[in-house]
């Protein structure tokens, strides 16, 4: 059965200022599916996510969410339409407490600050701490929680495990597994460590110089790491 696409990018080209970074990117993501966005540094992974949230310069193509064309919408309208974003830099609101970071942006829906605290008990313990008093892992949990309380249709995560201790990485991956496998949330995850993310996603897409060069089920790439290594280099699939 062919699932209706929740998010679809059609021949999307985008960049910054005069510089073009993405060229004719096609991508579809069905409801409840997750996708690993892979590629070497500087190939346009973050630009692709930034284009979906609406902060790059559009140069062609279209983006549709649940059948609605969102190509020309402002970032805040896209967020309200159902795009949740967890940026690489985390960008915690430093003058707000953990709890205020969540309540400042929460929209009606099943994901409430209380559910975020249930998912990340570590945050519940620190809910009265200011955003800038958190460790890197806690900031990442808060960034994910802040995207969840928007009750998004699609969650975009830009290198969520970057720079974190292995034990925190495990905790975050468990949380993402729960989101994708148990909660059925659709998501796109950018990750340098392919193996880690292929295990918890359904599909994978590899970018090279702003173009899609490989699109395959994550399980296939785990079974045939050589396909991935051809694009990412030796050892990339481990």
């Amino acid at each position: 059965m062919v699932e209706a696409p929740l998010l679809s990018l059609t021949r999307l080209s985008a960049g910054y200022g005069e510089a073009a970074v993405l060229f004719d990117v096609d991508l579809t993501l069905a409801e409840g599916r997750s996708l690993a966005l892979l590629g070497r540094n500087g190939v346009g992974k973050t630009t692709l996510v930034n284009s979906i949230i609406g902060v790059t310069r559009w140069r062609g193509g279209s983006i549709a969410l649940a059948g609605r064309d969102i190509t020309r919408l402002a970032p805040e309208e896209r967020a309200r339409a159902g795009i949740g974003w967890v940026p690489q830099e985390r960008n915690i609101f430093r003058s707000l407490t953990v709890e205020e970071n969540l309540t400042a942006v929460a929209l009606p829906g099943p994901w409430t600050p209380a559910r975020v605290f249930e998912m990340f008990p570590r945050l519940a313990e620190r809910k009265t701490n200011m955003g800038n008093q958190l460790s890197g892992g806690e900031q990442q949990m808060l960034a994910i929680g802040r995207a969840l309380v928007l009750n998004p249709k699609v969650l975009l995560l830009d290198e969520p495990t970057e720079g974190l201790a292995p034990i925190i990485v495990e905790e975050l991956l468990k949380a993402l597994t729960r989101l994708f496998r148990e909660e059925g949330l659709a998501g796109i995850v950018i990750e340098q460590h392919a193996r880690k993310i292929l295990e918890i996603t359904d599909e994978a897409l590899v970018l090279e110089r702003g173009r899609v060069v490989l699109s395959a089920p994550s399980a296939d790439l785990i079974a045939h790491p050589d396909r991935l290594e051809r694009h990412l280099g030796l050892g990339a699939a481990h």
Partner: protein
């Protein structure tokens, strides 16, 4: 713990964050007690209350939304002239003048907000400065309405609620200004602790992140700018009604600069900053003018330079440490 329990706890802690700290009661009790303690200083205290309200209005945009302004006197002046004109031509009821003064300033804020919300801090400084100068020149040139350089004269206010008559010693004036300050402070307190207020701080911290979290930045900033203008209008209306005179001075640049200094002294981004700053600024001004009437501005200037270069951190750090200590003793407050 179940989600229902957690929801209840989250709600509880949000209510707690809005809860009044005992130190806050002390501030307002002291302000009310000043009636009895300083009966000869009520006119000065009235000025402090009005300046505090004006500073509170500026804090809403500077401290909470990150919008800098050097033309906030435009709204003070609008409120003052509107209240003065209402008293002269429509009704002497102070409350009617206050409400219409606030509405007029709010409307001016709403109309000018698109100009102010675009661009960076420097652009905003220039645009707000320009709006202030425009309003000053407009009031000057519309002499048939505003009295021009002579100002609005012959304002006679009626009794507040038909009971309390304005007197020469500032008793009614201070009570009136303090009451309005308190009520608008409570409203502002409610607003800054609401999700709307939190989203303003989110915008100030990181506009891009706030936008991608669904915060409609232009609307939120326009709303708080309008609210701030209405608050400044209330301060202007109080000034006009309690002094029963309005002149071009209310629109002068020094008003915008003074209120910025008040916020710098008291600290932006906490609602008591305007009140503390207004008290320090006015008392300092009064005290220095007492021992050196000719050169008081020199000493005020010197104080401000020293304060901004070093004293501010000491004062604000000291207050924060004191609050933290008191909160710590109480087992952690908001």
């Amino acid at each position: 713990m179940s989600t229902a329990d957690l929801t209840a706890r989250v709600r509880g802690s949000l209510v707690l964050a809005r809860k009044w700290h005992p130190a806050e009661f002390v501030v307002w009790v002291m302000a009310a007690a000043a009636f009895v303690l300083f009966p000869r200083q009520l006119l000065l205290l009235n000025e402090i209350a009005i300046l505090a309200l004006f500073a509170l209005s500026l804090d809403l945009i500077v401290g909470y939304a990150g919008i800098v302004s050097l033309g906030h006197a435009a709204f003070l002046g609008m409120g003052a002239y509107t209240a003065g004109l209402i008293a002269l031509h429509v009704t002497a009821d102070p409350l009617v003048g206050l409400v219409i003064g606030m509405a007029a300033s709010g409307l001016l804020g709403l109309v000018t907000s698109p100009l102010v919300l675009k661009g960076n801090d420097l652009t905003r400084l220039m645009v707000t400065l320009g709006i202030g100068l425009l309003m000053l020149e407009l009031a000057n040139s519309l002499g048939w309405l505003t009295g021009g350089a002579d100002g609005l004269q012959g304002i006679a206010m009626g009794k507040i609620l038909g009971i309390f008559e304005f007197d020469l010693f500032g008793k009614t004036a201070y009570a009136y200004s303090l009451t309005v300050l308190f009520l608008l402070f409570v409203l502002a307190r409610r607003i800054v602790h609401s999700p709307f207020g939190l989203s303003l701080r989110a915008v100030r911290d990181n506009p891009l992140r706030a936008a991608s979290s669904g915060v409609p930045i232009p609307w939120r900033l326009a709303a708080v700018y309008t609210l701030s203008a209405a608050y400044a209008g209330a301060a202007g209306a109080l000034l006009a009604q309690t002094t029963q005179f309005v002149s071009l001075d209310v629109l002068d640049f020094h008003r915008s600069a003074d209120v910025m200094l008040v916020l710098i002294i008291g600290g932006a981004g906490w609602l008591y900053g305007g009140i503390v700053g207004a008290a320090v600024f006015k008392l300092l001004q009064d005290w220095i003018a007492w021992f050196t009437p000719q050169y008081w501005q020199f000493w005020i200037g010197l104080f401000l330079v020293a304060f901004v270069l070093g004293g501010r951190e000491i004062l604000h750090g000291g207050i924060r440490a004191l609050v933290a200590r008191v909160s710590g003793r109480r087992g952690g407050g908001s």
